[in-house]
């Protein structure tokens, strides 16, 4: 029986990854209204960008991580031009199916490039351990939690302390008004996609050493990020964080205390429960349409 504090750290680390994926998803949703079903594949790309730079190109980790994130930023911009711009006025289902379709392409491009054999992406703190309250845990887990906390802090600074971030929030709130205020709306929308891709990149790099890098990892991540988003509240950043942590913890604790086969049923059950009873989630705004 693994002891509780180890499970908690483990759950929070996985939850951090889900939270980052969910935050990227939410940023894109609030700014552009797109429900990005390829969000999980974004994270998978992040992991494989790490594989390409650290394993294939044998870069040392600081420059490897940098190169991987730069590649992700480029990919975010590409997605903006190729998928978002042509479809921005389409009905929501069209966008859902389109992002799924692009996700299928992403998954299979990865398959063609890297093959179906999983990779083990090393962590910069490979093999190190940390002792917390008498329990020994891999340093990578702690690093993931710390990095996520730092990322959240940076995001907060971006959104509340820089003109660019404040502009992005203005676009998310009312695109028409933002346009009238003279903001370069398209550039800010593109930035939202780039930011989402970067966050997915960070999530992917951190997830690589926890799971194996596998081209099929995108779907489960997307499903967890969706659950996190609904539970926390659609469109809410604090909600994405809390939801991600909740899903990570329920997965790890559920696997060890309830049943490893049904561990995922817990988060999806709770997600459906929230949708039925409180669709605005923990932090979301009340949903109402005008009569």
């Amino acid at each position: 029986m693994a002891d509780l504090s180890q499970l908690l750290i483990n759950g929070l680390a996985i939850g951090s990854v889900y939270a980052l994926a969910a935050i990227g998803f939410v940023i894109v949703y609030s700014a552009t209204g797109v429900v990005n079903f390829a969000a999980g594949q974004f994270v998978m790309f992040g992991t494989f960008a790490g594989v390409a730079m650290l394993i294939n190109a044998r870069l040392p980790w600081p420059s490897g991580y940098g190169a991987a994130l730069a590649a992700m930023a480029l990919f975010g911009a590409l997605f903006f031009f190729v998928v978002y711009l042509p479809l921005r006025k389409s009905p929501i289902v069209t966008i859902i199916v389109a992002t799924v379709a692009v996700g299928i392409t992403m998954q299979n491009v990865a398959l063609l490039t890297f093959g179906s054999w999983p990779f083990r992406l090393p962590s910069p703190v490979e093999g190190w351990t940390v002792t917390i309250a008498g329990t020994v845990v891999p340093a990578h887990f702690v690093a993931v939690i710390v990095v996520t906390a730092v990322m959240v802090g940076l995001l907060w600074l971006l959104f509340y302390r820089t003109p660019v971030g404040i502009g992005m929030r203005a676009v998310a709130q009312d695109i028409q008004a933002a346009r009238l205020m003279g903001l370069k709306v398209n550039r800010l929308l593109a930035l939202s996609w780039i930011l989402a891709a970067l966050l997915a990149g960070v999530a992917g790099l951190m997830l690589g050493p926890i799971w194996f890098a596998d081209v099929n990892m995108g779907d489960p991540i997307a499903l967890k990020a969706f659950a996190a988003t609904i539970i926390g509240g659609f469109g809410s950043l604090p909600g994405a964080i809390v939801g991600g942590m909740f899903v990570g913890l329920s997965e790890v604790l559920g696997a060890s205390y309830v049943s490893s086969a049904y561990k995922d049923l817990i988060s999806f059950g709770i997600m459906i429960g929230f949708l039925l009873v409180r669709p605005q989630g923990v932090f979301g705004e009340r949903i109402q349409d005008r009569g």
Partner: protein
């Protein structure tokens, strides 16, 4: 009523003709198209008419298929009786879950039905005593008519076409009835529909239950034909494929549903020369269709009448932004 009968006759005779000339492997694909078309006519009620974005349609197909598989292999029931019960049970489940679920709209409903499909998959893959887990259930008996099994691709195709024809005609009858109009009205404008005396909730549930009935029938046919079911056949990826088929077929029409099912089932075959790059290409091709042909294949036909009456308007569409909370 003449046009639908004509269309149905064309589809069925095309199918029968093909059954005489195509090799067995293609017949197999044709059979899968017919089964998907039946499921899609169902999804067309929910999504095409009533506008309910369901990402859980494959779960209903799966419930039909597993219901029949379990009742025939575990309880020794005849496939016909099992089909009736499995379909009824799926419909009842859809009605029960629809009651709370269908208050949700847009992407909320999409994610809730997605969660439903994922949950179905998890249960089907893990409740080993009942479902055989990931190994699935094999040795499902064939359907029989007057003591003769509907075995082999060709006879099954004839039978499948007969079922498809029957369902198509029923679907057309519903389409032109007050119930079909009510569904379309609910999708166009829920508030105005309620203000015209339509019970919006009941209309949505009816559309959802109808979609589940068609899905379950498709699932039962699938189970009896392939004679083996496994969770993989009913994952949420299939639900998305169904939606994609409906959009490719186009324009929320019954004919579009049938076309979409056939085209997307045969597509991998037509694109075989791409080899392992097929799926990577498929995603981009779907994207191109959505961008350049948003009203699908059936929408192409619209260009002809449009030349005659240029004022004909495109159906109203709601953009993602408007549906946001």
């Amino acid at each position: 009523m003449r046009v639908p009968f004509l269309i149905t006759a064309v589809i069925v005779s095309a199918g029968v003709l093909l059954s005489l000339v195509l090799p067995d492997y293609h017949l197999r694909l044709l059979n899968l198209s017919v089964v998907s078309a039946i499921a899609l006519i169902g999804l067309n009620f929910a999504f095409g008419y009533a506008g309910l974005i369901s990402l859980g349609h494959a779960a209903f197909v799966g419930m039909g298929a597993y219901g029949l598989a379990i009742l025939t292999t575990r309880m020794g029931w005849s496939p016909w009786r099992a089909m009736l019960v499995a379909t009824t049970a799926t419909a009842a489940f859809a009605g029960l879950i629809g009651l709370p679920l269908l208050r949700l709209k847009g992407h909320y409903l999409a994610l809730a039905t997605l969660g439903l499909n994922v949950s179905f998959y998890i249960v089907a893959a893990n409740w080993i005593d009942l479902t055989g887990g990931t190994n699935g259930i094999s040795r499902i008996p064939e359907l029989t008519i007057a003591g003769r099994a509907i075995a082999g691709e060709r006879p099954f195709l004839w039978f499948g076409l007969a079922v498809l024809a029957a369902i198509t005609i029923v679907a057309f009858m519903i389409h032109t009835s007050r119930y079909g109009r009510a569904m379309i009205a609910v999708r166009d404008d829920e508030t105005a529909a309620a203000m015209s005396g339509i019970d919006v909730t009941m209309t949505k549930i009816a559309a959802f239950v109808l979609s589940a009935v068609c899905a379950a029938i498709a699932g039962c046919l699938f189970a009896c034909h392939v004679r083996f079911v496994a969770p993989e056949d009913f994952s949420y990826a299939h639900s998305i494929t169904y939606l994609a088929m409906l959009i490719v077929g186009g324009e929320s029409t019954i004919v579009g549903a049938i076309l979409g099912a056939a085209v997307l089932t045969f597509l991998p075959e037509w694109l075989r020369f791409l080899g392992s790059a097929y799926l990577a290409f498929f995603g981009l091709m779907m994207l191109a269709i959505l961008v350049f042909l948003p009203s699908g294949i059936a929408g192409l036909g619209r260009y002809l009448p449009r030349l005659r009456s240029p004022t004909r308007a495109a159906p109203a569409s709601v953009s993602a932004k408007e549906l946001g909370p």
